[in-house]
Symmetry: C2
Subunit: 336 residues, 2 copies
Amino acid sequence: MPTISDIARLAGVTATTVSNVINGNHKRVSPQTVARIQAIIQREGYVPSMAARSLKTNASKIIGVFNLIVPEESGGSFQDPFHSALLTGIELELRRSDYFMMVRTVYTAEELLEFLSNWNIDALILTGILNQGFYEQLKTQPAPFLLVDSEVHDESRMQVHLKDREGGLMATRHLISLGHERILFCGPAPMEEGVIKERLMGYRQALQEAGLPFVQERLLLSPMGIREAADLGRALALRDDFTAIFATADVLAAGIMAGLQNAGRRIPEDISVIGFDDLPVAQLTVPQLTTIRQDVVQRGRAAVRMLLSSLAGKKPDNITFPVELVQRGSTGPARR
Amino acid sequence: MPTISDIARLAGVTATTVSNVINGNHKRVSPQTVARIQAIIQREGYVPSMAARSLKTNASKIIGVFNLIVPEESGGSFQDPFHSALLTGIELELRRSDYFMMVRTVYTAEELLEFLSNWNIDALILTGILNQGFYEQLKTQPAPFLLVDSEVHDESRMQVHLKDREGGLMATRHLISLGHERILFCGPAPMEEGVIKERLMGYRQALQEAGLPFVQERLLLSPMGIREAADLGRALALRDDFTAIFATADVLAAGIMAGLQNAGRRIPEDISVIGFDDLPVAQLTVPQLTTIRQDVVQRGRAAVRMLLSSLAGKKPDNITFPVELVQRGSTGPARR
DNA sequence: TTGTAAGCGTTATCAG
DNA sequence: CTGATAACGCTTACAA
């Protein structure tokens, strides 16, 4: 591994000049020197050491991507297709910059803060369950951070929003328009000000518009694993007090569908199911899943763009992504 | 952010001593001093700077996880559930150590090598398509690396193997035992010495054992995306020259199943399908997917353990994981 | 346009 | 057992 001074020696200049060349400070160096040094850099395969650079500039060129989960749901966050899609977008955008990412599942605020000071991460993207206390701790550290689908509401903060309430509204209206009156809402536990809460609000609003009652027993909390969802589906096959299900995630919907079908229920003849996200998994079910589409990959890209422009000293506007109903086969007219 | 000298000053000692305390060099420091310094470290929330440490020790405490893909299949590697499961295992094991991971999708050897010199990654885990040339380049760099399901065979190398051929054998034998004689093999393009080739060998061996011919037209190459697999399934619904399918990945099997079913074919009555991996997605299909199970998460953990012990100067033994037939509903007797 | 010198936070060597 | 000092590779005033 050649160092900057190796290059300098080879070029007959000093490290300063090489540094200026590397960092595009081209006004401070004569064109010939620039060319000569660049040739040598190329030839020697020189690459600056991030460690040294980081130490000096107190910036790491690392973006941390953290998924906050409660220990109980453990098994890691990579198995969640939503998170996977987000990572895809983040990486896609990041590779156009000179930043890199460290991905980490995090259980406690302490763990996160230690990680941060360890590596002086330049910026953070956070997903998962971020409670208020955690959020307050986060504000004590200097790096800009951005929440995706977190459960904290703070308009002054960078955020990549989604029209969650509208999504819940559209999904429920769609079911109601098909004649369904008893509709289950399935999702993880909604927290104050969180996205699940928003979708739930949409659900309730649609019910209200249609003059339908909100019934507590039709509100189902469920973990997000495929296995758990399938179990839930099998359990639901025993109930008879609903004709449709709105699940707040495609994985959840797909799992529930599989469970129902394995227990002998037909979809959509017996029960209609609608999901949320339109991830690839929505194409795996039979019939294919009707769902509320969002562009998760683009949201990941947008998150990175916002953070990078924030690092460049700008103050990016918050952005809200649209949702869209995608009708496929898993929803149909309510049985009488 | 306090530094080591801040702590030293506070403790009335010098940075050296604090450093010794941090690095567990406890024989060189008196117990009282150790205790006092640790208390102060705790109180001040001091965390060592990785950048400085890395610069000094020329080791980064970073494990790189690289998925090598050809540009065409792009869209990133996080969408592949196999890779996701592997990452889960890697992270699970890594968090028990003081190493961290950087994850990166990589298209070319140059990109990888640049990344490496940039960060002086301590060790690498590589997945995806690693051709011979790439492999040779990899050997020119100093960090220990480990291949998971790569397409290069080199027994002298650290590797986390799987009984791939046996898996192919078991899958095909299972179908044959159900009376199937015309069996499709679906997977990505097999390369010399790769895992797909191995599974294919198992497939061929099982055919041979049963006195069945190997027919080129029953060898199907397919990309690994869900959408592509579903398209393939729909296309296959038009063919009538087979009664069963062995797919080399669950995603592929599930996608093909969905495509077939959406085109009106019944599974397993019309066509039997068997997958490979037993990832959560195998529970999403209806009927649930018969598959060859492997423990991907454990393979990820094993990979990390091997690398860490290699970094600790040991020479870990290569390890080969078993496979197991999991019979579920997607395979049944061949129609006559 | 180029060079000098200091310093980022840590660890390693050697001395006390 | 503890301390002084140098060095890791780089950037950045400031000087020439």
